[in-house]
Each structure stands twice: as C-alpha cells, then as structure tokens.
Amino acid sequence: MSVRGEVLRDGPGWDSPEAKALERTWRDKPGLVAWLSTVDHKRLGLRFIVTALCFFGAAGVLGGLMRHQLWKPDNTLLGPDFYNQVFTMHGTTMMFLFAVPVMQGIAVYLVPLMIGTRNTAFPRMTACAYWIYLIGGLTLFAGFAVNTGADAGWFAYVPLAGPEYGIGKRADFWNVLVNFTEAMGLMVAVDIATVILKMRAPGMSLRRMPLFVWASLVTAFMIIFAMPTVMLGANLVQLDRMLGTHFFNPAEGGDVILWQHLFWFFGHPEVYFIFIPALGFISAIIPTFARRPMFGHDAIVLSLLATGFLSFGLWVHHMFATNVPELGKSFFTAMSFMIAIPSAVQIFCWIATLWTGRLNLRTPLLFVLGFFFILLVGGLTGIIVGSVPLDLQVHDTYFVVAHLHYVLIGGAIFPLFAAFYYWFPKITGRMLSERLGRWQFWLFFIGVNICFFPMHQLGLEGMPRRIYTYAAETGWGPLNMVSTLGQLIVDLSMLLFVLNVFLNFRHGERAADNPWGAPTLEWAMPSPPPPYNFVALPVVASREPLWSRATGGATHVSGLAAESREGLVTTVLDAVPDVRYSYPSPGIWPFIAALAVGFWLDWSIFSVQGALWGMIPPAIAFIGWFWPRKKETAEHLALEKRP
C-alpha cells in the first residue's frame, strides 16, 4: 500500500513522500475521459471562469453591435427584428451566462484554498453543473445562430413572451435557458455553502473566516432562495406556451403582473449576487495592498448579511410604473434607500483601511480605486431610480441603462479585473504585465465613462430603452455618437487584457507563492496550487494566518490518509474537527448526467412529449451516478476506525 509498508499519513514539506503520495492520489489521469471526469475544484472553477469570459466576449460584441446601430439617427445596420434579438441576447448572456457563473467559478476555485481544505464538498455536482451550464449556453446561442434568438428582453415580460405574441420558438429557448442556468446556479451554490459551513480548516471559526468567503456564503444562500422563483416563473410561461394553460392570460383570469413579481423577486437579488462576491474581492485585495488587516471586519460581515437580506425587499422598484398600490411602492422606496447603508458602511471601512495603511499601488488596487468612482456614480443614481417619483420619469429610459451599467461595471467588472490581476499569479504561476495592466485600466476607466455617462442625459431627454433607432429631430444623435466612441475605447481596453493574458499565461514572469504578501491561506502553497491544495491541512489561529506569528499551538492537521481522498469535516461555528470525510473521486457520470439533462431540456423546447419522455435519460444517468461502488466502499471501510 505504500513505500514504507504502512499507511502513509500526510505531513508538512512539499517534497516529502507524503506530498508525492497526495499528488498520486489527487492528480487527474491524462486523457479525454479523465479530462471530462475531473472533480478538481480548481480545474472546474477555471472552466467556469474561462467559459464565462467567452460568453462575456460574445455579449460584449452584441453590445458593440447595438452601439453601432445607435451611433447615428435612422441607422439601418440592424433591423428591428435582429436588434431585439441582439439586446435580449446581450442582457441574457451577461446576466445568466457571464456574471453569475464567473462569480461562482471564482468561488469554486478560491473558497477551498482560502478555508484550507482539499476540494469542495460536492465536486461531482459542481462538475455536472458546469456541463449543464455549457450545454445551456450553447443551446441559447445555437438558437440565435438560426434566427431563433430570444427577443423579448432579458426580463421576458409576458404577454410579449407568451403564446400569443411570442411567436416561433424564441421565447422557448429563453425559458429553457433559465432552467439550465438556474439548475447550474443552485447546484454550485449548495456546494459552496456546504464547503464553507462544514469544511473549514480547524480553528477557522466564523469570526476568522476571510471576507471573500463570507461574501461567497451570503451569495450562495441568496441564490438558493432567489433562483427557484424564476425557474418556476419560466416553467409557468412554458406551460402557457406548450400546454395552453392560462397563468398569464388575462382573458382567462391569469395576470401578466404575476410574471413581473416572480421575475424581479429573483431579478433584483440577482444583481446582488453579482455584486456581493465583487465586494468580497475588494475586501480581499484592499488589506493586501494597504499592508494592514481590514478595518471594521465585523461591520463588513454584518453589512454583507444585511445586503443579502435587504436585497429581497427591493423587487417592486422595477415595477413602479405598474398599478401596484401606492403605499406598497413607498415601502420599496424605503427599502431601496436602506440598502445603501450597508454599502456605505463597507465603502467607509475600505477607505479607512486605505487611509491608515501603506499603499502598494499595483494594478489590482488601481481597479479597486476605479471601482470606487464608477460604483459611487451607479449607487447614487440607484437612489434616484429607487425613488418612486423620480423613477416614473427615468424608468425604462437610457438613464436606467446608464445606471445599471455603472452599477454592474463598477460593482462587478472593475472588481473582476482587480481579481484577475490579483489571483492570476496563483492560478497560472505567472504574473500579468503591470504596464499593460495600467494601460488597460486607464482605457477602461475612460472608455466606460465616455460610453455610459452621456446616457444619463439621453434618458432625461426622453430616449426610451430598447429602441432600434430614432429620428434625427429627437436630438439624441450627438450624445449617442459620443457613447459609441466610448465603446470603442472599452473595446481597445479589452483587447489589451486579452493580449496581457495571452502573452503571460505561459511565458510571463514566474510568480512566487505569495507575490503580493497577502494574508490568506490561498497564498500558502506553490503557484499554481498542487491538485491536493495543502500537503497538510492548516490549523488557523487568526484572521490573517500568513501575517500573524506562529503561536505555540498546532500548525497543521496530521494523520489524514495520503493515499485516499481524505479530508476533515469541522463544526459550523468554531471549526472544531468533527469527522473525517472521504472526498468524491473523479467520475464520468456527472458529464453523462449533464448530457442527459441537456437532451431532455432541449427536447422540451420543441415538444410536450419531449418534456415528459425526455426525463428517462437523466433518470438513468442519475441512477448510474449514485449506484454504490464496491471498490469505493471497501476503501472507506478500510480507513474507518471502529469504536
């Protein structure tokens, strides 16, 4: 069983026999089947990130097409039919196929490293989720490629997306995409919540947990509560479309506003489960570059929790122009204003940290500073759109387009670039170019402002959203032209990023284990991390384990099997070691199950029969997946100590 004739135990030292045994245990075999079977959270997380970035690129091209259509009045580059598909695909792709998966992918990659464990809790489920996500995204784009792109907006309001007005199969593609992406989101969220609550390194009590992990935890729970409503809603629309039910048909007692409630009850928290992980990036990056612990750590944790809760009480502010009761609207105004307070707490704590620190002004911190500027604009215009009377004027105009892009670019894209520059050395073992990074930052910062700031004014001048063109006498031409110019600058900045990654991911300057001098555990291992993450699971005694001097106590866990995928389950609050846990080993079934689910959902786009009989392949795949395996059971029993 081992080189020394006894069971190998893990222990410190990256060159030790234990490390070599761990390498053998955790490494994926070469070959395509092994590639499809991997359950390594780092490979899975990276797949999410890379796939999501490809969708980001695609959605960005679609956004660019819109800007080129609108750059002058009466432009005929895109017709109304194609334009409607383009803006629907842009929004749908950005929200469902980029923003949520990229944040979840980063969490899948980083959380186990940050909390000191060897894998996520349910990596097979996350592997399956990845393939479901990929198949769903390809399905949506396959529809778009054959002129069946969703065209009722990313919000897919009925009756426009219903059976009577949403003709053809376009809305069906959208509804089924929701099933794909929400299934993915829920599966990953359950995995992340579990690994955070139950598999933290001994000693990492909740109060010592890194802020990014807190952000991931809050996000995971928000996803679990928010996503089912949109899945329900999309399937009710599908029932109306495919079976002739009348959930949303006012002529038969249905109500079209029901959809808006179901959609925005998910849709508003969705903004926050893009934004909250980004807050986590900021909270991870600032202490490293200010060379001090985060000021107000506890206040930030409470703010994240408050944001998570409050975000479920805002959804009606997307519906102020409907005839929901006036008193109810005032409540949602109050809630919309209230959610600004936890954001303010965090911003002030970050500034306090910078104020009292010693700054290392590198590219990640530059993007964080850009985040402050852009997000502040978006947050403050958020107060404007949260107020009922002001929203009645700016709702569904370019003012909102400006607002939401400031929020999402400031609140998610700037932090994402900060995160890419920050963690790229850990993920690839190479540094990104600082020079290209600075150029990219400035072009992006300037381009975003030129592109989106004029839209505020356009909205106030009466330019509605989602129009494919406009007449010259409206006077909207010049500002649209400026905006399109800004988009060209943003394009250039994105090209620089691609160039930076392309030049450096193989041949860049080699990264040390901890190139930024950061405090958290993901920097305690070589870059890129070995498949088993830690040669010995760490024992944590403070919030900044890599900054605090060793105490007299234990520094690592020892005694876990190195020739089996063994880990530790700890208690929820204090992370006291509880039981040993056997991590799942790689398997092809998650991939097969995802194919089966994809087959089922894709069939259901075209036929009611498909929705029914299509369930058979997933059923077979899941039975195969969960069928007990003798070899695994024997291995687990061998490690078990009977009392």
């Binding site: 007005y165 502040l376 409206t474 031409g477």
Partner: protein, 341 residues
C-alpha cells in the same frame, strides 16, 4: 483611433444641423405641475448625491495622497494601534450617520413628492381613454353626453390649465404611457386598468412615447400631445366631433370610393362613411395630424403615398400590409385622405 476621430468630427459637424424642431421631450423642462414636482425632487436629490460623491472621493483622494507607499515585501501591520483604530472608527461612524440622515431626508422628500403627485386637483378634469396597441394609440374623449364622445389616434389634445385624467388600457402587450414634459410614466397592462393625471400649464407640443418594450416597433410608438388654450381646445374638439366632410373634387371622391371599396375599410374607420372598423387608427380627421405611423414620418402627401404603398418598408412589422395600388389610384387615395381635416 482614426475611425473614432472621424466619428468625433462628424458629431461636431452634424450637431447643429440635427436640431430640427420636434415636440418637447425633456423631463427637466416641466410644462406642468406633475413634471415640475418631479424636477424639483430631481434637483434636490442630484444635489445631495453630488455632495456625497465629492465628499467620498475627496476622502479617498486624501487617503491616497497622505498614506505612505509600500511594496509586497513591506511587513504587514498585523495589529494596528488601538488608539488610532478608535479615532478612525469614530470617523467611519460619523460618515455612516451622515449618510443615513441624508437618506432619510431624501426618503421624506420622495414621499412628499409622491403625495403631491397624487393630490393634483381633478375638479373639472378632462376624461380621456387611451388604449395602446402594437404600435399605435387610440384616444377617446369621454363625455357625459354620448354623442359628444369622439375618437382619434396617436394624438392627445389637452386644454391648458385644466387637469386631465387619462384611463389607460392595453389591447395586446404591456405598453407605457410617457410624456416627459408633463409627467412620469404609467404602464398600460392587458387585463388591468390604470389611470394617470396631469395638467399642462404651458401651451405647446409635447412628445408622448411608449416606454415599455412592446415588440418590433417599440421605437416608433409615439403620440403628439398638444396643449391649447381652453377656447382653442374646445374649437378643436368640436371640429373633431363632426363626421368627415364630403370631398369636393373628383379625385378625392374617387379616392373615397377606393377607400370604401378596397381593403382600407376592413381596419380603419372614417366617421360619416360606411368605414367603421377599429383594428387601426380612426382616420376621420387624419389630415389634421402632424405625423403618420405613430410618429414615424411627417404627414406629407409624398410620405403618405409611400406609407400606403409599403408600410413594411418604413415600419417593418407594422400590422398594415403593403398595397399594390396603381399610381393614379394611390394619388386619389392620398388626395381623399388629405381632405379629412
């Protein structure tokens, strides 16, 4: 960047020429009390937000300017001095308190504005029913005497200084009724009835638009709001209550016969003739309208002829089909429609 440079030059050179007169459509140039309340709230909110923006960025800039620099090798300050932490903590508390107080102030201002909007006096209000269709508007002026009720399309004439209560319906999908110069928007939702009230205090022309995405031609679903002095408004309304006049010249009469014998009357109505369908805009006083196709084109004979011949070319997806009409018949139709003043 030479393409962008050219685009910029083009923008600069086009800008002054592009300013042809169009109906007013600026949320901040209020022409009535509702939009004025909202504009007041706008300036207050903008002022507070601008103050917060400048203050926060100033704090950030100060932090950047005064703090010493470091690099990745600088030992981290793992346990900052408690006294300094306390001092900065007080500042954070003060900043959060100020933010909360400002937010509460804005909330009160928002709710007060909401009340003011709801309290517009509706004494002697003009009652109008508006029904939205993909992609045009029916406008019906209510009256206690049924014979005084009349219908028009894609235009809303209102008397200056008199409140207007608009009841909103939708015939198909969700639309939104928006006249930026007069008030915020209100959705027209199938299966639900909503109302919106406003008053125009200055005579003029205001652009009305559909603000909720409603399909292919959401971009061209406008209506013209014309605020007239009360006497002028009454004269306009009286004129619109009358059926269409009998055409005088031969070409127009031939046009009328073509209209009534062809497919036009299957969808359109002209009061005073046998055309009485309501699938498309009422054309009784069509020639008095400024624009055709719900704001798509100025109402000129040439545009009208092009529109009748092939509306799909001008407004793709519109529910009016193309018509293969010989040139002189088309001329007669245009001549007839031109008499419907």
């Amino acid at each position: 960047m030479s393409a962008a440079h050219r685009a910029w030059l083009a923008a600069v050179s086009i800008a002054p020429i592009g300013a042809i007169a169009s109906p007013a459509h600026d949320a901040l140039r209020a022409a009535g009390p509702q939009a004025a309340h909202i504009a007041d709230l706008w300036w207050l909110t903008l002022g507070v937000c601008a103050f917060v923006f400048v203050a926060v960025l100033a704090a950030l800039a100060w932090a950047l300017w005064r703090t010493p620099r470091s690099d990745a090798g600088t030992p981290a300050d793992a346990a900052p001095a408690p006294a300094a932490e306390k001092r900065i903590g007080r500042r954070v508390t003060v900043a959060v308190t100020i933010s909360s107080v400002l937010l509460i102030g804005l909330l009160i201002a928002s709710v007060m504005t909401d009340r003011a909007l709801a309290h517009l006096s509706l004494d002697d209000a003009l009652h109008v029913q508006v029904t939205a269709h993909q992609w045009w508007w029916t406008v019906t002026y209510d009256d206690r005497q049924p014979e005084r009720i009349f219908t028009t399309a894609n235009e809303l004439y209102v008397p200056v200084g008199r409140p207007v209560l608009v009841t909103l319906h939708s015939d198909d999908v969700i639309h939104s009724f928006w006249v930026p110069s007069l008030h915020g928007k209100k959705d027209l939702i199938p299966g639900r009835v909503a109302t919106i009230q406003f008053r125009a205090d200055q005579p003029g022309e205001y652009l009305g638009e559909c603000a909720e995405f409603c399909g292919l031609q959401h971009a061209f679903m406008a209506f013209d709001v014309v605020a007239l002095a009360p006497a002028q408004f009454e004269a306009w309304a009286d004129a619109h209550r009358k059926p269409a006049a009998e055409p005088e010249d031969a070409a127009a009469r031939r046009g009328r016969d073509l209209f009534l014998s062809g497919s036009c009357m299957l969808c359109h109505a002209i009061q005073g003739t046998s055309a009485n369908a309501h699938k498309a805009p009422d054309l009784t006083h069509f020639a008095s309208r400024a624009r055709i196709g719900a704001g798509r084109l100025p109402n000129t004979p040439a545009n009208l002829a092009a529109w009748i011949a092939d509306p799909q070319k001008i407004k793709p997806g519109v529910n009016m089909p193309a018509h293969l009409i010989p040139g002189d018949d088309l001329g007669a139709l245009v001549a007839y429609l031109g008499t419907l003043r």
